[in-house]
Symmetry: C2
Subunit: 585 residues, 2 copies
């Protein structure tokens, strides 16, 4: 029991020197990668860069204690940073203490929600985000994030919540472009793109092993940071208007309980819920992908608790919402991390960086950070998926397109909500009209097939309908309409057989529709029969009064039903006294 | 096309003298029944009694033009009146012009929504109200309505929105009970209960035909109205504090466009939507029940337009929201109505009553109207359903109980919403964990059955999983977890076969999960195969890149898969270059 909620008790038991060496190695590499990323994502979230470092210390320790993935690396990520900026920006101006407080509150709310969802085992709610919706949301967020960072590359001031607003603001301020900032930003962008595409092959040609080449290429942003800091100092660019990170408070994050402000909670709970769900979905899919590579498993409900603990830790240490990141988790995995302890060691690395390195970052230009963000998020923009979805499923394409459009035009929160609502409506629409077929017997066999597709035998006074779906409240009304329509078209009908071979369940609404069909058919002189009812469904029917009221029989096989009813074409419908005794009239 | 939207063009063509006679007869009987009911329900809605008459004229004509049921009788009904009182009471005090305006606005909004839903063919959204939710809502509404009318029986003033508030207000005011009012209300109640239960058998014993006895018993409330008016006049009870209906403006309803007030629309659109959906669901189920008795059909999407037109007509003539009522439709049907023209003739009857009879109703005591309401709605309270649901399905019982509890404790609107949300969550929870089985071959046959239930043959290096559900975004994550869990437990595994005989569809999320499973299994050296894929599903897969990436094969039958893979236990997993060529690594 305790082990379920504290996975460290399991993997901690077999911890040894070799595993320690692997974990330490991975931690060093992830730390180097995480420092510029944390600063950049905090800037994207509208927070002081140091908050990104704070969010990369205690949350990693908390996840190491409670998380179930051996290799997931948590911390600030791009999409969640954008969502934080959107939510906090709605209640306070960036740079104010109220804004930082809102970010802390988002982490606290998100932490509480994730833990509660985990304890109640409600992880399935994340299913409401379909793949097309998530993919559309991530693509659109990538576009929004990249656009929001262009101002730092140009050295101008520009705001805007939605994409059109951002573009308009950029257009208006374009004249103020600072050439020195541009001279750092554009080469920075070009360099980082080249690192992504060209550095690894080059290093391999120079004799590095593929893995070493890959790891070194991942350190490219650190090189960009170092070079741009030297450039700013060497050419005195601050005096020429190049914005830099400036003074970062040196030291460890201050521990403090988030203020309990009911007004702030009321304003932020919806975005906090969306941040929680998006963060969870992203994180779990990364964790599952990596776990499968080593035939390991993660426990999704416990993952909710692990991520919740990480966010509560972020809230306690002046950070902002965190989740498992794709890029850093892959680096952690490739660098050989064996257990969550690698995350704890990374936390120590970032803590040391907070204590020692922050003075070095004073002269780091914002343009360089913006370039690392742009290069990172443009890989999120997925141009292939819309085409694949269009070819595969128009409904899924519609959910995808709606998510992208609403996210770009009305912001991230409405984008997620629109995606969920459109996806759910399309699902309900399809669920409300399942597949059903009128079937007949294939000559010379006991098989029954769709009359529209096969040459089969049918009888004028017997109609057999096979429903290829469980009978639930979503299709109960459809079932009544469909059956009564078929009966209304056949005045000579005496028997209706519902072939239930594909009915895995019947809920109370489905049952009531069967009762209504039974009543209405009795009114018009037709008996209702069932065939091939599955055992668990039959058990349920026996607990209800339905079988006592049924005007016909339940046949074990459709073949039996067909054979027995074939001879019963002259029989009158049930007499009125029989119906009355059964409570039907 | 025109006939689809104007069903009168169809049935009007074959209209003749005989049908006219039947329709006229039914109209007379329904008119007599409708007069006290309309007054009573208007009082329940917190509106002047005459509004109930207004809502029973033009809406009936509109439905006769646009509705598809031959026998549905529309007009004010109990539950919708209660919902109107709740919604209008939230924006204005009963008795004020603003309150009446809110009621008109509710009818207008409801009319527009119903017509739009009908034109967009969105009737399936009503499916979100499951039978247990509707039944719970109607029961709880019956209790609320009956409780709200007790004050008229007691002759006291008492308010309250929720049930506990109502009971507390009644308790506080109990000392003010007016004995004369009580002396009308209690015998009135007793008489009307007796009319329901005892009058019909008595009339039959006196020699009336069962149908005539039934019809006469339905006129019982008219007798109660007449006797109590005479009692009030004869004993001068108004002077002794018995509240009466008072002056009713004589004449036809004034025609006027509802005021377009954006603030009012913003305040009322949610309750208007709930009124529309509840009204539609009620009305359609009544219409379907009656249509089936004569092997007729109704068109649910056109019903939306018919009810929408009726509500727009109510809004134009100073009424309030209307829908098809159960009791009056049954009377209409039993009295022999053949076409919607019966409804139009009823409208003429009510119009004549408005012109001529209203002076007679001056002395009608409110207690008598309250008694007719109480007797009518107590039959809505359904004590059997909770027990049946508890026995049949705990999930459905939970939705039922939640709807009742929230309706009683927090009001009708939250009650409906709670029912929809709980029902949907339970559905999604079940949909997110479908049934799947590990199957093996029944010895000596080509059949494959669940290993947990049958003695079957399995192979250590081949695992076959049969999924009894379409693969959609709601269960995509479950599929990944389930499959990877099974694989993680079997280190000797080489082949995984997904038997898709019960998979009716695969949406984009399901497809992506299959792709992810394919990738992850490849990482751990296991090939993925499919078997028994249905033709339409296969067509979809062919439009995607999935089949090119699949590490295994698609087998026509599970038997083929089993036979072919049985010999393939020593084969190494696909070579890295093959995987790379397929884009897998």
């Amino acid at each position: 029991m305790l082990q379920r909620y504290l996975p460290i008790l399991e993997w901690g038991r077999s911890y040894n020197r070799e595993v320690l060496a692997s974990d330490l190695m991975a931690a060093v590499i992830v730390t180097i990668m995480l420092i510029p990323q944390s600063l950049a994502y905090a800037m994207l979230a509208g927070l002081p860069p140091v908050v990104g470092l704070y969010a990369s210390i205690l949350p990693l320790v908390a996840y190491a204690l409670f998380g179930t993935s051996r290799t997931l690396a948590v911390g600030p990520v791009a999409v969640i940073s954008l969502m934080t900026a959107s939510a906090a920006g709605a209640v306070a101006a960036p740079g104010t203490p109220a804004y930082a407080e809102a970010a802390v509150m988002l982490a606290a709310l998100s932490g509480v929600m994730l833990v509660v969802l985990g304890l109640l085992r409600l992880g399935f709610l994340a299913n409401l985000l379909s793949h097309p919706v998530i993919s559309g949301f991530i693509s659109a967020s990538g576009v929004l994030i990249a656009t929001s960072q262009l101002k730092h590359i140009l050295g101008i001031k520009a705001g805007g919540e939605t994409w059109p607003e951002m573009l308009a603001a950029l257009g208006r301020a374009l004249g103020d472009t600072n050439p020195y900032t541009l001279a750092i930003g554009v080469p920075g962008l070009a360099f980082l793109f080249w690192v992504r595409k060209g550095l690894k092959p080059l290093l391999e040609r120079l004799g590095l092993s593929p893995r070493a080449a890959d790891m070194s290429a991942k350190a490219g942003p650190v090189l960009a940071v170092a070079v741009s800091i030297l450039a700013v100092i060497g050419f005195g660019l601050e005096a020429r208007g190049v914005a830099v990170v400036g003074a970062i408070p040196q030291g460890l994050p201050p521990l403090a309980l988030p203020s309990f402000d009911p007004g702030l909670i009321a304003a932020l709970w919806v975005p906090a819920l969306l941040i929680s769900v998006i963060g969870f979905v992203e994180s779990v899919s990364v964790a599952q992908t990596l776990a499968a590579k080593r035939r390991q498993r993660i426990a999704p409900d416990q993952e909710l608790i692990g991520l919740g603990a990480a966010n509560l830790a972020a809230a306690l240490s002046g950070g902002y919402p965190v989740t498992g990141g794709f890029a850093r988790s892959v680096v952690n995995f490739d660098a050989g991390a064996q257990t969550p302890a690698a995350g704890a060691f990374t936390a120590v690395g970032i803590a040391l960086a907070s204590l020692l390195l922050t003075p070095l970052l004073f002269h780091l230009p914002n343009a360089t950070l913006a370039a690392t963000i742009i290069v990172a998020v443009l890989s999120l923009v997925d141009l292939k998926t819309p085409r694949l979805l269009w070819a595969y499923s128009k409904a899924d394409f519609a959910a995808h397109a709606a998510t992208i459009a609403v996210t770009l035009l009305a912001g991230v929160e409405l984008g997620v909500i629109a995606g969920v609502v459109v996806g759910l409506l399309l699902y309900l629409w399809r669920a409300s009209r399942p597949h059903a077929a009128i079937v007949g017997r294939v000559p010379g066999t006991e098989h029954f097939r769709n009359v529209a597709r096969h040459k089969v035998i049918t009888l004028p006074h017997v109609l057999t309908i096979r429903v290829d779906e469980s009978l639930t409240y979503l299709n109960a009304r459809w079932l009544e309409e469909y059956v009564l329509e078929q009966v209304a078209e056949r005045p000579q009908l005496r028997h209706l057989v519902l072939m239930a071979s594909a009915v895995n369940a019947i809920d109370a609404s489905g049952l009531e529709s069967l009762e209504a069909i039974n009543h209405r058919l009795a009114d018009s002189g037709v008996r209702l029969h069932l065939s091939e009812v599955k055992a668990p469904v039959m058990d349920g029917l026996k607990r209800s009064p339905f079988l006592d009221q049924l005007t016909g029989k339940v046949f074990l096989s459709q073949d039996q039903a067909f054979a027995e009813l074939a001879d019963d074409d002259g029989a009158p419908p049930p007499a009125a006294d029989v119906l009355e005794a059964r409570g039907l009239i």
